[in-house]
Symmetry: D2
Subunit: 324 residues, 4 copies
């Protein structure tokens, strides 16, 4: 493998706030180190179809504060086939691209691993997903913004819950991971948090709701979408058990992906974007750049891929103690 001169960056999977900060960091770090930089549109789909554009320092000006991804993102069925990946390889070779930085989650890195295996392309990944469900980094890019968006929404619902003495069941994102639910639950003083990693103990919930009646007029129960039950089912069960409660359901949905990235997500994406480029220059490949204990770290894709932490019982305890 020779010296790296031309790097392309792409975003893939669900968009997350801070992806633009990551793109900007990759492009500018590359230029800083004298490389030529490219952007691939719509993830692996643009790789397969050759939708690749040169990027200079100005092309990423004034995007650090924007949600979404200026390079767009998409699923690519073609890239899942060998033929698709072969087309992708030919496209990047045609442009002289030596290496890739891919920003995304689990699926993104799986695709990258296949691509490396077959065509020996140096690739470094950045963890870009709101779910914070990857090993090899304490936080993923977008997670901090997403939990702040959830907290802001739940604060608003708390206003109306307080005014009406209502119980709200609020469903938040997190198909396989309850981290968004847990942190936003602690932050909004939720009376209970239901997550996919733990079985729901309705008796305990009902008991707590009952025992704390004198302290509270409104109640918030946060449910991760991946929980077996789902927000609507949970609400029904509560209504059954507590017919006197005025129960409402709110499914936060897609607002959780958008919005201006938080300071933390911008710094994280900026640091990892620089690290990815410098890692490639230093000969790294097939790894995800992450931040562990405040320091940049590289983890092989095989180990970063979808890692569900054992649920953080420190956090579940906090919910229980503080929702008196």
């Amino acid at each position: 493998m020779g010296e790296i001169k031309n790097i392309a960056v792409l975003t893939s999977g669900g968009d997350s706030p801070g992806m633009n900060a990551g793109i900007r960091a990759v492009v500018r770090a590359g230029i800083y180190h004298g490389l030529n930089m490219f952007g691939v549109k719509r993830g692996y789909d643009g790789l397969v179809n050759g939708d690749i554009i040169p990027m200079d320092a100005k092309s990423v000006a004034n995007i650090i504060q924007r949600g979404g991804t200026i390079l767009k993102t998409a699923r690519s069925d073609e890239f899942r086939t060998y033929e698709g990946r072969k087309k992708a390889y030919e496209n990047i070779k045609k442009l002289g691209i030596d290496a890739l930085v891919v920003i995304g989650g689990d699926g993104t890195f799986t695709g990258a691993s296949k691509f490396i295996e077959e065509f020996d392309i140096p690739i470094i990944g950045l963890p870009g997903t709101i779910d914070n469900d990857l090993a090899g980094t304490d936080f993923t890019i977008g997670y901090d913004t997403a939990i702040n968006t959830v907290v802001d929404a739940v604060d608003k619902i708390r206003d109306t819950a307080e005014s009406h003495d209502r119980l709200f069941v609020i469903e938040v994102m997190g198909r396989d991971s309850g981290l968004i639910a847990l942190r936003s639950g602690i932050s909004t003083g939720a009376e209970a948090v239901l997550i996919p990693e733990l079985e729901v103990d309705y008796n305990a919930i009902m008991k707590r709701l009952d025992s704390t009646r004198k302290n509270k007029s409104s109640r918030i129960i946060i449910v991760a979408e991946g929980d077996d039950e789902g927000g609507l089912v949970v609400a029904d069960k509560i209504k059954e058990n507590f017919p006197h409660y005025d129960v409402r359901v709110s499914i936060l949905g897609h607002i959780q992906r958008g919005g201006k990235p938080s300071c933390m997500d911008r710094v994280l994406a900026s640091r990892l974007g620089v690290a990815a480029v410098e890692g490639l220059i230093a000969g790294r490949r097939g790894e995800m750049a992450g931040l562990i204990h405040g320091e940049v770290n590289f983890t092989p894709f095989s180990k970063a891929i979808k890692h569900i932490d054992k649920v953080n019982t420190n956090l579940t305890r906090i919910v229980e103690i503080l929702s008196l």
Copy 2:
């Protein structure tokens, strides 16, 4: 009817941001004019059950910026009966309360009208509802905040829609009125706005979606909840007609009621709260205080009650022209 010395204020119906600013203004204007002020908990329910507390200037300090209502709000079946209203009357007489200020919407004023008719209590109303569907005021307290909340949410969804080239159908509040939908639709560059006041012309929508394909990658369709079709039905129809679109639905729900009131809602509530008290002192009753063309105005409850404006065709034209 003698001189007014003691006034009670209550909030009723769905909560809206700015109700607290209204409560504060009523209480402080009363004290400024040398009156004794009271607060009723949970709307007419607190009136029936005698849940009434004295309020001084300090009791409303530092609430102008808070969503919801510190007095809480509730529906009261009892107040709908003559017996309930009689109990309410006896409660306020016991405390020497001469007059009421009621903050709410349509239903609130209907109840107030009955109460005046039977017990001759001076009452002035303030328009507190996010729907902006009352005659006698250009804007209701809470409307401006609610449309800003909607715009903020749709901006976030636009980020993700842009990143994925998706079409989002977003359902906003407005059971009988499309005003939230219309203004937020204009503000977010929505490609179409569906409101209860107008029949949906799917052909026109489909044509517009088609004709503007080259200019836009993402699409937003705003649907008022009161529209015949509802967000989910609209989404299904679009999928049928445009199978190639990646269509998603988002129902914004209860976040639209909460949050810090906007500057406009705080000023509106403050002005109307003062006007209500000074109106009572001046002998007014059975009227709603509103703001028309920047000036305080009083409208009899019978005329303020639920008035659906003919849809503002100036605004529907703007949607059509600007969603090129």
Copy 3:
């Protein structure tokens, strides 16, 4: 003057949130009516220097939510000279531009008036300034966003003022007009508001501060920058009179111009942008499009130019009554 086929739009003077929504509306309304549209960079400076670009519907996509102005703005000394204006005229004639829409304030319309007088160019203006100091419109584009930004900042300062029992003097924008100060003062429960239109009565302020001591621990005094005294002077006088107060000063400064436009500013800019183009087509010129009592209105530049309303004593009364 023949039929209008080509219109250019520019922004001039201090930037205000909603200018981009105005540009978008002008460009799209023109295209909707079959015209060719152009954008001028950096206000009259770009006119003088021929920095003019064609604009299509896509060029204004996804800008409605952004603060500032994508066309930029600047002062142009050259345009104040006849030679400068002549160059400007030649530039637009070269491109076949028949008419202009100028978005700005007082100075912008003065320049436009001169230009019309000398070269008979049809021009319509939009009121784009945070100061709300123009006749011919109830609100200027940017004012609503600016007062919300001020309110948000003062709410934050109130948190810290409350925590420390401090008195804050906060200086807000408004060189000739106290409107930003007045509305934000009412909205944040300020104990006093000092504006250029009214002489400061320190005795009254001191008396109020004294008489309300038992109700309040923190105090906020809002000062418009155009007030004779200025925030720092006001703070010194208070310290002199109330040596026991812990007095702090905060000058909000440039944050007041930026940020995402509010829903109201976006709707206002959208409506007026469409009106400007349709006004030009209908033969109007030398007028500012404004919104009076909810309806579009046109006012000759000579009457729109810098009009300071007699101070709204309705609003000053509200400050006095509510700051008990």
Copy 4:
């Protein structure tokens, strides 16, 4: 020292967002463990003057989302004297208070150390300061919110800087530490960040401003208030060297302390509040509870007190690389 039954909590020093979440966590964790809880008003001043109130679970309901501190904070000259501390000791003994949780920064812990030394009171500290300048915790309570407030303000100023092609010098908090400046600088794409820990190299700054002229129209320079030079001096130097720049200065000031705490600050305060109480129960004293690498940790006051990290050169490098 016997078993702990009664704990009092206080906030001291400059207020920081998240202090209320900390108070709530301390009070509820205490009640959860069967203790009696008290709150001290205005920091050590309330201890000296016996301004101490009992707190139950309800007294801390609905405060997790509020900026400032409901217990207020103040400087206490009296507590710096032995006599003052003796009065404080007598006050808490009178109420049977066995232990304290103090939330604040450097000065707060110095006072606590003295108090322990002389009167052998078990005290645990929580790091409550926006400056993030304490050893023994990766982040202090309030820091994350403060940097997000700064980023939001700078984003707004960037809008206006872009529109006018201006250079803004923005002064942010940080008397002894450049951490707020550094992270907010990276997050807002600042062209330079000046911090007290590093000498200013004007030549380098000027060179960078010059070399990047073609990529950028606006410039942001972030200056920590503790920097030798200060925002105004820096601005003057730049004007001298670059007379063609339109230079403006903005001093963000007190808005940086207020506002709703971020999710991260709420979770941090919640975890540490629980840890403080459980630490006291377990026999700990004279230590600050902090979070290091995601885990709760205790550091003796003597080591936590004002520790200025060697400047994080990882972060200064990022500013340089990305501000192309």
